[in-house]
């Protein structure tokens, strides 16, 4: 077990002449909530896809949970969780069926999947809804369920891609408490968001502009460095210089 869970050096992705991600380097220690910010089109999604083993780097190197992103992507997929910005559970399966399906996809045995699902239902106080179709749940619940399912197999890192878009302010905060809790138990969180108040909740924040990481530090130190009152201001100062759109 290494205490650096994500480590990236000079990671680069080119699409033809276009350099989507340009030599980014950073380390994320275990249990950290790492905020990955950037304007639309800055290269966040491409970078995240490389870390998840879904896209092969053009240059540079990196490890996630100790595995090489170039040649061990299948191993990486087993020890990470992923939650996308758009709700990605199956609406026409029940809560329990979704849990079992994803547990299976993440490589848990039938027995582990069953035990894990029941444990998760209990923790969410959701046992009575186990056989409810996911499509009929309120959005806030779907969101919490997505996060629970992304962590069902006890992954070392969870990647959250704009997990709280369109969610009401109360649910959004409950969601962040789930993140805090998972992090306090040693799960590393890698999260993107457009809500700048959420950037303040992160242990450290990186800001991508035009494919490069322009800033990386704790929210407090970034605000000090840019003489800003909020992360919103820091983000504006950095992103205003962006040359490219999405």
């Amino acid at each position: 077990m290494n205490d650096v869970v994500i480590s990236v050096r000079e990671l680069t992705k080119r699409f033809g002449d276009f350099i989507a991600v340009n030599r980014i380097s950073f380390d994320v220690p275990r249990g950290e909530i790492f905020g990955f910010l950037g304007a639309n089109g800055a290269g966040k999604t491409t970078a995240m896809r490389m870390l998840c083993g879904l896209s092969y780097p053009s240059a540079g190197s990196g490890t996630v949970a100790g595995y090489d992103i170039r040649c061990e992507s299948e191993r990486i997929k087993r020890c990470i969780g992923y939650m996308s910005q758009r709700f990605s559970l199956y609406n026409d399966l029940t809560v329990r069926e979704n849990m079992l399906l994803f547990a299976g996809i993440y490589g848990l045995s039938r027995r582990e999947a069953l035990a894990g699902s029941e444990r998760m239902l209990g923790k969410l106080d959701f046992v009575s809804e186990g056989d409810t179709l996911v499509g009929s749940l309120p959005l806030g619940w779907k969101q919490k369920l997505s996060f629970a399912i992304a962590t069902l197999h006890s992954p070392e890192v969870v990647f959250l891609d704009e997990p709280t878009g369109g969610v009401d302010p109360v649910t959004r905060r409950q969601f962040w408490e789930m993140i805090y809790e998972a992090a306090s138990q040693g799960t590393t969180i890698f999260v993107t968001t457009h809500y700048m108040d959420e950037a303040e909740y992160c242990s450290r924040v990186s800001v991508m502009v035009d494919g490069e990481i322009r800033a990386l530090d704790t929210p407090a130190r970034l605000k000090q460095q840019y003489a800003a009152n909020s992360m919103d201001e820091v983000f504006r100062i950095l992103a205003r210089g962006a040359k490219r759109g999405e």
Partner: protein, 299 residues
């Protein structure tokens, strides 16, 4: 004059009550914001007002026309930008604009003055297919197309969702410019921080309107003491603060947690009780629209 008048409108889809007894008016020339999360009923309301749906109960008038009886008249005097990109991806930028102009029986030249400040930003790409545009450019094209027939009233359904903070603020600048030209705008957003850009706002949740006022007026309604609390370990602070007597609620709010003081709360006592937390700090703070929203949701 009122541009939009809504009287006691309800709409259900099977067992789902999308809108329940919604009433409010939007004055001519106003920039009015519908602020609420997914599932609040915002899109249903837009579809009713743009005559794409018929209400189960209640009536509404848009530009003085009834949304059921006078639907044809409404369609020619309003512009509508749906939440989903709804232009033709296989037509070019210019072809889309020409197409929408033709639908409304106008030419691009006739309306060029109105759309120019927005359209000029994408004009260098006028031969690119709309499906190949970036998110920000799609948004500008959709707004140009919604304006091409010089509507009096503009409906914008979540135009800034999923857009980064800088582009969002640029979009709101465009809306302010359109408002200056006398166009009435009804715009929805899930981002509470955008509320201050509106003349008036309605806070909505689960099919109901929870409050309507100017952004300042909404915040003024907040009648409880609110504090910002900080400590080195913010998660521990959150858990501990909720155990202290007199604390009605404590929730993360940017770099601090907001603490809603209830009966018997005393900040000195609070600081003493949680003195074991390193770096503990508590101070009164002015509420924001989001604090009001959270409070209204708990009712």
């Amino acid at each position: 004059m009122e541009a939009i008048e809504i009287y006691d409108i309800s709409k259900s889809f099977g067992p789902v009550h999308a809108l329940e007894s919604v009433s409010f008016t939007v004055r001519a020339g106003e920039l009015f914001g519908l602020i609420g999360p997914d599932g609040a009923g915002k899109t249903t309301l837009f579809r009713l007002l743009t005559t794409l749906l018929i209400p189960d109960r209640g009536t509404a008038r848009v530009g003085g026309y009834d949304i059921v009886a006078d639907y044809r008249a409404i369609r020619s005097c309003v512009g509508y930008m749906p939440g989903r990109f709804s232009l033709y991806p296989d037509l070019t930028v210019e072809e889309n604009l020409n197409f929408f102009a033709a639908l409304f029986g106008v030419t691009v030249a006739q309306s060029y003055n109105l759309v120019a400040p927005i359209y000029r930003q994408i004009e260098p790409f006028k031969n690119r297919r709309a499906g190949k545009l970036s998110g920000g450019m799609k948004q500008k094209l959709a707004l140009s197309c919604a304006l091409i027939h010089r509507p009096q009233i503009l409906f914008l359904d979540e135009p800034t969702t999923g857009v980064d903070a800088v582009s969002r603020s640029e979009f709101w600048n465009m809306l302010s410019d359109l408002r200056q030209r006398g166009i009435t705008i009804l715009v929805s957003t899930p981002y509470m921080d955008e509320a201050s850009r509106c003349d008036r706002i309605a806070l909505c949740n689960e099919g109901r309107i929870m409050g309507i006022d100017t952004p300042r007026g909404i915040v003024h309604q907040y009648d409880t003491e609110l504090y910002a609390v900080r400590a080195h370990n913010m998660y521990a602070l959150l858990e501990e603060a909720r155990k202290v007597e007199g604390v009605d609620a404590c929730y993360p709010f940017g770099e601090a947690h907001h603490l809603v003081a209830g009966l018997g709360f005393d900040s000195g006592h609070f600081a003493e009780r949680l003195g074991f937390l390193d770096g503990l700090h508590i101070e009164p703070v002015a509420p924001t629209i989001e604090d009001v929203f959270i409070k209204l949701m708990k009712r």
